[in-house]
Amino acid sequence: MFTFLIKSAFLNAWRHRLRAVLTVTGLVVAILAFGLLKTIVSAWYAGADAASDARLIMRSSVSLVFSLPISYKDRIRQVDGVDAVSWANWFGGVYLDERNFFPQFAVSNGYLDQYPEFLISEAEKKAWLVDRRGGVAGRKLANRYGWKVGDVIPIKGTIFSGNWSFVLRAIYDGREANTDENQFYFHWDYLNESMKKVSPRRADRAGVFIITIDKPENAAAISGVIDAEFRNSLAETLTETEKAFQLGFVAMTEAIVVAIEIVSYVVILIIMAVMANTMAMAARERVSEYATLKALGFLPSYIATLIVLESLLLCAVGAAIGVALTYPLAEVFGSFFESFLPVFNVADTTPWLQLLSAVMIALIAALIPAVRSARVRIVDGLRSIG
């Protein structure tokens, strides 16, 4: 009986081929759009998701714009629970054209040691450490511009004016899928030496300090101790976990993220209405058939199940194609926006959310037609013209 039910549902779904194809196409587009929008949202949070619990970021308590004296490093190191300290400056230069945006940081030598998720060969790392003009780029960034180790990379400074040139000495790969491979690093010392010459007031300062702690559960306590250390100084600090620091950036654009989330659900609502209309039309056309089935002795629950199965079948096909297309399209989509959303990976939960949405669409769309058809009086149904 169940096999017959499935077969009947399939035959009914495929009865109006054009309608079935158009409905499935709509579902594919909606499920795909939902998946991509969800991926954009997760890409937005990728930095925070990839953040380590064992790393703290210390910055000026006034604003990220204000830098901190480099001398703070020694006092930070003296705090109990601190394992390592490095520092970095946002460089914000332009590579050939302003459209070629990617994050550039001037970092101290110990910086890369604090990021074990950046996989870099020992030979390249050594080469970078000994070359004052040396640079390190992420794999995706290097691929985007066709850089190879040894290439000279000219970058025009904006915050730190002048024409800078770096020699690419190393390329790192991300250990995790959500590791950002679109960043460029060079020696803070190289930047600092230049600053000493052209703008001494800006020398010996760091934008942020990166602090590795021994136990992630002590993050709050250690942050408090560090900030207390610099309280009432000329440059008070704000120390927080790397995740909180990253989420601070996300919070600045939260309205956009919320808007994208809303649009993703609106897409589902729209296709739900389309699907409900399709199922209502199909059920209305078949009232006489359902009445005949009931006359033959089939129960109302059979009719309802037939309609729900047909809806589930259409949505399953749409969802399967939509989910399957999400991955290659996310890759294409990600390559267009890798400057702004460097980690554009479909989250593990996204296909499940897509499938769940498809099931919800199917059930809700079939609900009213199924109930109505199941309740139709046989004599009324037999009189109707499909």
Binding site: S8, K294, L296
Partner: protein, 238 residues
């Protein structure tokens, strides 16, 4: 015991809260193996009467006994089960499932039985053979003529071996040749298999195949015609 027995059956519909009587105080019996034609002008209530006997509608008052079962007292679920086992339906517009082949349409009522797939196949093939459509089992309704579709519908009606077959204008949508074939098949079912048949028709020629004709007018039994004799029931009831 009569195959079908109606006792003071009435039916009225409600429109805007007002009752519209369709059948009033109908009483008659149909004996086992009878072939009865229900006749009357449009709106006389003959199809409603057929629906009540077939258990696809419920009377407003009265008792309908089919093989001794008061079908008006059955729940929806019980009534569905009863229909599946006891009634074969033939409709004016065949009411075949367009997505199913002739074989699958005939097999459809057997899905509600406990027969195995093999047994279902045997039953359906036998029924199709009886209506002369063994060579059309893989055809879809759209690939069959009107007469052939009605023959598939007849095969579907008899495949479960029901005691009662109800036919609502079975020749109403057919040409003369096809109508003759269908009527001949119904006669065969009645004479050879002993099926009790109740048929609604406008067609006097179709009604002539039946053993008796029951005339309705404005929801009341008007006359019973049997073996060439007409008996006015209205006068009797009065």
């Amino acid at each position: 015991m009569a195959a079908v027995s109606l006792q003071s059956v009435s039916k009225c519909y409600y429109r805007g809260g007002h009752p519209i009587p369709v059948l009033a105080d109908i009483t008659f019996d149909v004996q086992r193996g009878d072939f009865l034609a229900l006749m009357g002008p449009s709106g006389s209530g003959k199809s409603t009467l057929l629906n009540l006997i077939a258990g696809i509608d419920r009377p407003s008052a009265g008792q309908i006994l089919v093989d001794g079962v008061d079908i008006a007292k059955l729940s929806e679920r019980e009534l569905a089960r009863w229909r599946a086992g006891h009634v074969g339906f033939i409709f004016q517009f065949y009411n075949l499932m367009p997505v199913l082949t002739a074989f699958e349409n005939v097999e459809l009522p057997l899905m509600l039985t406990k027969l195995s797939r093999r047994e279902r196949r045997q039953h359906a093939e036998t029924a199709l053979a009886m209506v002369g459509l063994s060579d059309r089992i893989t055809h879809y309704p759209s690939e069959l003529s009107g007469g052939q579709q009605q023959r598939v519908a007849i095969a579907r009606a008899l495949v479960t071996d029901p005691s009662l077959i109800v036919a609502d204008e079975p020749t109403g949508d057919l040409d003369k040749v096809s109508a003759t074939e269908v009527l001949s098949l119904l006669d065969q079912l009645n004479c050879e298999l002993g099926k009790t048949i109740i048929m609604v028709t406008h067609d006097v020629r179709a009604a002539e195949v039946a053993h008796a004709m029951l005339h309705l007018d404005k929801g009341e039994l008007f006359a019973l015609e049997s073996n060439g004799n007409t008996r006015s029931l209205k006068a009797e009831n009065a």
